[in-house]
Each structure stands twice: as C-alpha cells, then as structure tokens.
Amino acid sequence: MSEEVAANNVDVAENEDVQAEEHRIPQPDKITNKDLMKSWFGWWWANEVPHTFDRMLAPAFCFGLIPTLKKLYKDKTELAKAFQRHLLFFNTQATWGGGTLTGVTISLEEARAKALANGEEPISEDMINNTKVGLMGPLAGIGDSIDSGTVQYIFIAIFLPFAQKGNFMGALLPFLCFAIATFTYGYYFTKMGYSLGRAAAKEIMTGGRMAGIIDGLGVLGLYMMGILAGQYIKIQSYLKFTISKKVFDVQDILNTILPGILPLFAVLMLYWYFQKKGLKITRGLVYLTIALVVLSIFYVI
C-alpha cells in the first residue's frame, strides 16, 4: 500500500518536472507571411544604415529579424543568444543575398526554437551561422552585378531622355521602378528562402545537395567579381622613361606582357592580405589608399 503511494508520488514528481521544463522554454508562435514581410521590410529599411567595417551589414540583418525572433524565442536567454549570433560579421547584397538569407535564417531559427521547446536536439548556432556565411558571399557577387549593375541602369537608360529634356519624370520614374521592382522580388526571395530553408536545414545536417548549390553559387559569384574587377578597377601606369633617346611607356610594355595586370595585382595583393591576416577590411582600405596615393603622387599610376 505504502509502496504504491510512493510510486505515485514519483510519477507526479516526474510529471511536474516535464511541465516545468515545458514551462521554461515555451512553444514558439507560428511564422506567417506577415512575419516574413516584417523581417524583409526591416532588413530592406535598415540595410546600409548601421554599416561598419567591423561587422558590415550584420546589425541591419539582426534588425530585420527582431520581430520574428521575439515570436520564436519567448525565453529571454535564448532571445539574447539569437540577437548576439546575428550581430556577428555579415555582408551581402540586399535582395538576392539579404532577401533569400532572411527567409532561410527564419526557417532555421524556427526549427531551432521548436526543437528547444520540445526538448529535442536543436540545430546548433554554428549551423545557422555557417549557412549564412556560406551563402552570403556568392549571393552578394550575383546581386551586386544584377541589381545595381544591370536593373538600375536599364531603368535609368530608358528614362534618361526625359531628364535630358528637363522633365523631372526622368528622375522620378527610374527611382520608382527600381524601388518597386527590387522590393517585390526581394520579398519573393524571402518567401522562397523560407520554404527552401526548412529543406536546406535537413540537407545540411545530412550533408546532401546543399554543398553543391553553395559551390555553384560560389562559381557564379566569383565569376561576376572577375567581370566587375575587369570593368571597374581603373589602375594604369603613366610612367614614361627615356633610354638613349627612346621613350618607353610603361603601360604599353605592360599591355604587351599581360593587359589588365595592374588591377589584377591590386586585387590579388588584398586577397592575399586577407588570407594571411583574416578579413581586416579597415586595414586593407588604409594600406590600399596609402599605396594609391604614394604611387599617384609620383605619377607611377
């Protein structure tokens, strides 16, 4: 008789334990399209406002996630951990990179929050971070060349004749078209990222197709960077010297060896510096500026 009571008491105690644990980490709210829109808008709005060389656009990404994270993590310490992990270095382009990754991250955070609440093994913080970091570079390379390099100038080119005639619509229309187009497809990317993300989370756990996708995006991102490097870095030598009455133009000589060698050299030096010393962007900027100033004062470039 007394044994039964004791056993019942143990059962009750166990039940209380389970309840206490459930109480400690409450179930997350369901993520709706409205939440995705809120986060996309937050990122879109904050985008370049808190830009620094230390963290780049991480704070803006975190700003977009604030309302969603509040719905997912009712527990204060988990919420604080989520805020902190999204303030780590992050840099990408707004729509292709930021839109997609906002969606992917929300789906990963949702899976993590649910697992925590159910007492299952959650997706690790590292995995969330690695997914972001793995995708941000390739998507930035794609987005920079498409949004600011192509979409923007298509609209400007279409409406520039208005401006040349003195009509202010030549300014207003390209701006409106660019704003509406990028906001719309950025939101589409967010939704796509969200629905992909849940599958992607599983795939990353099992090491599946996702690695191939990241590689493919890396190829495209690096390829677009190569094109931009060739088209937008303007470094050439103005050095000329005379040997026995013959004028040598250094740039002409360089062109016969390898056209475009100087811009490539600049990029590779910086890349090599980052490989050696880690991503110290401010220092890279300072060294590059000093080198360019010194060389150009003496008209070497």
Partner: protein, 256 residues
C-alpha cells in the same frame, strides 16, 4: 554679381543629402546615391528651376553611368557631387560640361566622407552588443537604426550646409584651380583603384580557393572582350552556365 543660396535652400539640400547618405530611406537609397538624378530633381525643386536642373543632372548622369559598388565600396558619391555641382551651375549659369568639371572632384571627396561614416558607425556597436546581451529588443532597434542615423545627420548636414551656403563660389574657384593638377590626378587614381577592395572582400568571403579559376576566367574574359562592350546580363548568363556545368560534373564524380 554675387548670387548665393538662401539659408533655407542650403539647409534643405543639406537635409536631403543627409537623408540619402544616412540610407535611412531604405535600400532604394542605393539608386539615389549611385545616380545623380533624384538629387538633381530635389535641387531643382528647392531652387525653383526644375528644367535647367534636370538638363545639368542628365549630363552628370552620363559620367556616372554604370557605376556599381562591388562589396559596398563606391569610387565616388554622385549624390554629394550633384548637390554641390547643380546649385553652383544654376547660380553661375554654367554649361552642363562646367557642372561636370565641378561634380567629378566633389564626388571623389564625397566618397571619403561616406567611408568616414562607416568608421563613425563603429560607436554604435557597443550599445548594440549590450542591448543584445540583455535581450532588449527596443534598445537594440534604437542602437541599430537611431544612433547611426544621428551620426550621419551630424556629419552631413553641417558640412553640406557650410559648403553650399558659404562655399558655392569658393568651390567653383577651387575646382578650377585643381582641375589639371596633381591633386585631381591623385583623387582620380585612388577613386579608380578602391573598387579592388570590395572585390577582394567578396572573394575572401566566398572563401573557396578551388573556385578561384572562375574569377581569373571572368577577369580575362572581360579584359579581352572589353572592346565588344558585352552587357552585364550576357556575362551573368555565361557565369550561370559555368556554375551549372561545374555542379553537374563535380556531383557526377562523387556518385561514381
């Protein structure tokens, strides 16, 4: 004849520049920064001569056509350039070409101001980390949006106001002096070379050394085909095809 902007005109233009350069109007400020058009329109409204302002601005736009900021580094600030050059051109009844001569050096100087903003924003990081650690969403939101915006306004409004209200005649004189000198050569060279930074940053962030041949392939394609004037869309299609081929062939290998 000495014509200047009124205090209100100078202040309104300065405010507009601060709105654009702080990026507080969202991602679309990208095109307000990269393109002189919207700034030229606002200057036209403020100065009451939209038609002439747009004609001058369209000429400046041609200089900045195709400007992009790979990895976030723009070699010049067309918005700042236009906010100075268009008022100076309108007040001095200058040709669009004269306005371009002012816009280009001012734009180069402006890009340093924008880089300086990144540096000043660092001060917002400490409160950000503090509020994040506390799980304080409201405080975090303010540290991310409020502090950098205040920093930008404190940086751009006084500088632009002084330049416009006191400096418009000085600027055109100054620019005429440096137009062919070493200073403008240095500014041009630095502006032309800075794009290397953003590109190297993205290469490092992508972080896959075995994929670097695709960077070199693209680089030498764009150098070799420069005269063909191939559009970015065509290059993007090439890139996508290379990416698909790479993934197809490497994934086949791993299954065998």
């Amino acid at each position: 004849m000495h014509v200047t902007l009124s205090i209100w005109q100078a202040l309104l233009i300065a405010l507009w520049v601060a709105l654009v350069e702080s990026r507080i109007l969202g991602f679309s400020t990208l095109t307000m920064r990269f393109s002189p058009l919207m700034t030229g329109m606002m200057v036209g409204f403020i100065m009451g001569d939209i038609k002439q302002a747009m004609i001058v601005t369209a000429a400046i736009q041609l200089v900045y056509m195709g400007f992009v900021a790979p990895g976030g580094a723009l070699p010049a600030e067309p918005c700042i350039a236009t906010a100075i050059a268009v008022p100076v051109a309108l007040l001095g009844h200058m040709s669009p070409q004269g306005a371009i001569a002012i816009a280009v050096p001012v734009g180069l100087l402006g890009s340093y101001l924008y880089q300086f903003r990144f540096f000043l924003n660092t001060f917002a990081l400490k409160p950000m980390d503090k509020y994040a650690k506390e799980g304080n969403a409201r405080g975090l939101g303010f540290a991310i949006m409020g502090i950098p915006t205040l920093i930008s306004f404190a940086l751009f409004i006084p500088l632009m106001f002084i330049a416009l209200y006191f400096g418009a005649p000085v600027i055109s004189g100054l620019v005429a002096n440096i137009e062919h000198g070493t200073l403008i050569h240095v500014l041009n060279s630095v502006g032309g070379g800075l794009a290397a930074l953003g590109i190297a940053v993205i290469m490092q962030v992508i972080g896959k050394k075995q994929l670097l041949p695709f960077f070199f392939l693209a680089y030498f394609m764009s150098v070799a085909f420069a005269k063909l004037d191939i559009s970015m869309t065509i290059y993007a299609i090439f890139g996508a095809i290379f990416a698909i081929l790479y993934v197809t062939f490497t994934s086949k290998k791993s299954t065998n």
